[in-house]
Amino acid sequence: MSRFLQAAAYGVVQGGLLGLVAVGFSLVWGVMNVVNFSHGALAVAGAYVAWILNVRFGLDPFLAIPVVAVALFAFGYVVQRGLINLVINAPIFLTLLLTFGLNLVILNGLQLLFKADDRTIDTSYASQSFAIGAVNVPYGRLAACFLALGITVALALLMSRTRLGHAIGATGMDRGAARLMGIRARHIYAVTFGIAAALAGVAGTMIATVGSFNPTTTPGQLTLDAFVISVLGGLGNMYGALVGGLVLGIAESLGGLLLTGTWVNAIAMAVLIITLIIRPSGLIGKALYGGRVEV
C-alpha cells in the first residue's frame, strides 16, 4: 500500500512537470496547426543554458529561469519568423519535416558543443525530501511541480485576459478574420512560438534540476511525452496539458509498479490511439480545428 502511495505521489509531481513540457507544444499545435518535432530539443537547449549558468556562475537553476526564458523566447521568435512562417500554409508533413530538420540541427549542435554525456544541475535541496506518513516527497520535484502549475495558470490568464492572448486565440481560430481586424499574424505566430520555446526551456531546466538530461535520448522522449499529453488534454488547452501531464505521470509510475518490462509504454500508446479515435478533441475541452473526417 505504501509503495502504491509513494508511486502515486511521485506520479503527481512528475505529471506536473510533464504538463509544463507539453503546454507549449499544445499551444503551438492548437494555434498554428504545427506539430513541433523540435520541442524536446528546445527543452534540452534550455537545460543547457541553465546548466552553464550554474557551472560557470553558480547561479541557482530557479533563479536562472528568467534568463532561460528570454533566451529561448528570442530563439523561438526568430525560428518562427524566419523559417516556419515560410511554409505555414503548406501540407502538414512539410511543417513536420521542417521541425524535424530543426530538431536534428539543434540536437547535433548541442552534442558537438557539450558532448553526449548525461548532465544534471546540482543543488543542495533538490534531492532532499520530507515525509508525509510513509510517503517521501522530494523538495526539488515538489517545487518544480508548483512552478509548472503557476506557469500554466499564468499562461491561461494571459490567454484569457490580455490583448496579446486574445490576439493569439483569434489568430488560432481564424487567421483570415484576425488579419482583417489588424492583427499581424506573422508577429503573433512568432510570439506564440517564442512563448512555447520559453516554456520548453523552463521545463528543461526543471528536468535538469530534479533529474538528468542528455542531447541524444532526452529530446525525443520529451517530444513523445508532449504528443501524448497534448492529445490527452486537447490541443491549445492550457489546463488540458496539465491534466494530460498528471494522467500520464500517474499512469506511468503506477504502471511501472504493476507491470513488468516496458509494457507500460505499450499501454501508453494504446491509450493515445484510443483517445484519438473516440475523442480527438482530448479528455477535456474541444479542439480548435477538425480532427476527423465528418459523417
Binding site: 515560410l86 536534428l104 540536437l107 518490462g261 490511439i273
Partner: protein, 349 residues
C-alpha cells in the same frame, strides 16, 4: 446528348492492360529509361567493389520504402508516421519463422507481407478516419506500440535481447544470399515498387487516391468509396514495406526491436518523398537516391558534423522547394519560370 448522360456499357480492363494500351511514343520514354537503368544496374553489380555494392543496396531499399510511403502519404494524402511498424513486423515475422520453425525464407516472405497487410487493415480502418496531424500522431503511436509489444513478447521474439536468423550449416532453412544476392533482391524490390507506382498512378485507383487526397466530400459525391480507397492504399503501402523489412531482416541476420522499428526509417521515407516531390513517381525515386547518396557522402566527408548538416539541408530544401525538387523542376520547365524566391512565396504566411 442523352447517350452521354446515360453512359455506355464498356468492358473493364486490368491494371496492366490498361496501362499498356495507353502508351504512346511520347509517354513511353520514362518506362524505357527505367528499364534501361534496371538493366544497367544489373550489369553494374559485376563491376563494383563491395563497399559501393552495399551503398547501392541501401539505395534500392530506400527507393522501395519511399515509393511505398508515397502511395499513402503522397497520392492519398494521409501522412503516416508509422510505416516502420510494417517494416519491423515483416522483419520479425521472417526471423521468428526461420529461427523457431525452420521455415524457408521464401515461405516466410509471403507470410510477412500478409502480417503487414493485416496489421495495416486492422489499424487503418479506425485510424484513417483521423485527419492531418491526428493521423500522423496516431500512426506514430501505433508503430511505437508495435515495437513495445515485440519488445515484451520475449518468449516469441527474444524481446530486447534481439533475434538471430540461422544462416549457416544444417541449421539454415535457406542459405544466406551474400552481398551480390541482396544487391539483386533489393534491386528487384525497388524496380517492382517503381513499376507498381507507375501503373497505379494512371489507373482508376490512382485517380481515386488523388480525389480522396484533394477532397473527400467531393470524392464521395461522385461515387468513390473513400474508406476502401484509403484502406487499400494503406495496405498496398504496408505490403511493400513489410516485404522490404523481410529482406532486410535476412540481410542483417541479427537485429533488435530498436533496429527494425527505428522511427528514423519512417522519417527518412517521408523526407525522401517530400524532398523529391510527393504524389509523383519520379519524386520519391530522386529523393531516395539523392538523399541516400548525400547522407553517405556527408558521413564520409564531414565526420561528426554530418547529422547537423543533414538537418540543415532538410530545413533549406523544405523552405526553398516545398513542393519537392522534381515537381519544382517540372513546373519550372513547363512555365519557364525558374525563380526560387517566387517559389518560397508559395506557402508563406
Amino acid at each position: 446528348m442523352a447517350e452521354i448522360l446515360r453512359g455506355r456499357a464498356r468492358s473493364r480492363q486490368g491494371l496492366f492492360r490498361e496501362w499498356i494500351r495507353t502508351r504512346t511514343p511520347a509517354n513511353s520514354w520514362p518506362a524505357l529509361v527505367g528499364l534501361a537503368v534496371f538493366v544497367a544496374m544489373l550489369g553494374l553489380q559485376q563491376l563494383i567493389e563491395p563497399g559501393t555494392q552495399r551503398l547501392l543496396t541501401s539505395v534500392f531499399l530506400f527507393v522501395a520504402l519511399a515509393q511505398a510511403w508515397n502511395i499513402i502519404g503522397g497520392y492519398t494524402g494521409y501522412a503516416s508516421f508509422g510505416q516502420v511498424a510494417f517494416f519491423g513486423l515483416g522483419a520479425y515475422t521472417v526471423a521468428v519463422l526461420m529461427n523457431s520453425y525452420h521455415v524457408s525464407f521464401w515461405a516466410a516472405l509471403p507470410v510477412a507481407v500478409v502480417v503487414g497487410v493485416v496489421f495495416a487493415v486492422a489499424i487503418g480502418v479506425p485510424l484513417l478516419r483521423l485527419r492531418g496531424h491526428y493521423f500522423a500522431i496516431a500512426t506514430l503511436g501505433a508503430a511505437e506500440g508495435a515495437r513495445e509489444v515485440i519488445n515484451n513478447l520475449t518468449s516469441v521474439t527474444g524481446g530486447g535481447g534481439g533475434i538471430t536468423i540461422p544462416t549457416f550449416g544444417t541449421d539454415a532453412p535457406t542459405p544466406y544470399f551474400g552481398k551480390p544476392g541482396f544487391y539483386l533482391a533489393f534491386l528487384v524490390l525497388a524496380a517492382v515498387s517503381v513499376a507498381l507506382a507507375t501503373v497505379l498512378a494512371r489507373s482508376r485507383f490512382g485517380y481515386s487516391m488523388v480525389a480522396v487526397h484533394e477532397d473527400e466530400d467531393a470524392a464521395g459525391a461522385i461515387g468513390i468509396n473513400t474508406t476502401v480507397v484509403k484502406v487499400v492504399a494503406f495496405g498496398v503501402s504496408a505490403a511493400i514495406v513489410a516485404c522490404a523489412g523481410a529482406f532486410y531482416a535476412f540481410q542483417q541476420i541479427e537485429f533488435y526491436p530498436t533496429d527494425v522499428f527505428d522511427a528514423s526509417f519512417t522519417v527518412l521515407m517521408v523526407i525522401m518523398v517530400v524532398i523529391g516531390g510527393s504524389g509523383s513517381v519520379g519524386g520519391p525515386l530522386v529523393g531516395a537516391v539523392g538523399l541516400q547518396l548525400l547522407s553517405q557522402f556527408l558521413r564520409v566527408n564531414l565526420g561528426s558534423f554530418n547529422q547537423l548538416i543533414f538537418g540543415a539541408i532538410i530545413v533549406l530544401v523544405v523552405v526553398f522547394f516545398p513542393q519537392g525538387v522534381v515537381i519544382y523542376v517540372r513546373d519550372a520547365w513547363r512555365t519557364r519560370h525558374f525563380s526560387v524566391l517566387d517559389n518560397v512565396r508559395r506557402y508563406r504566411l
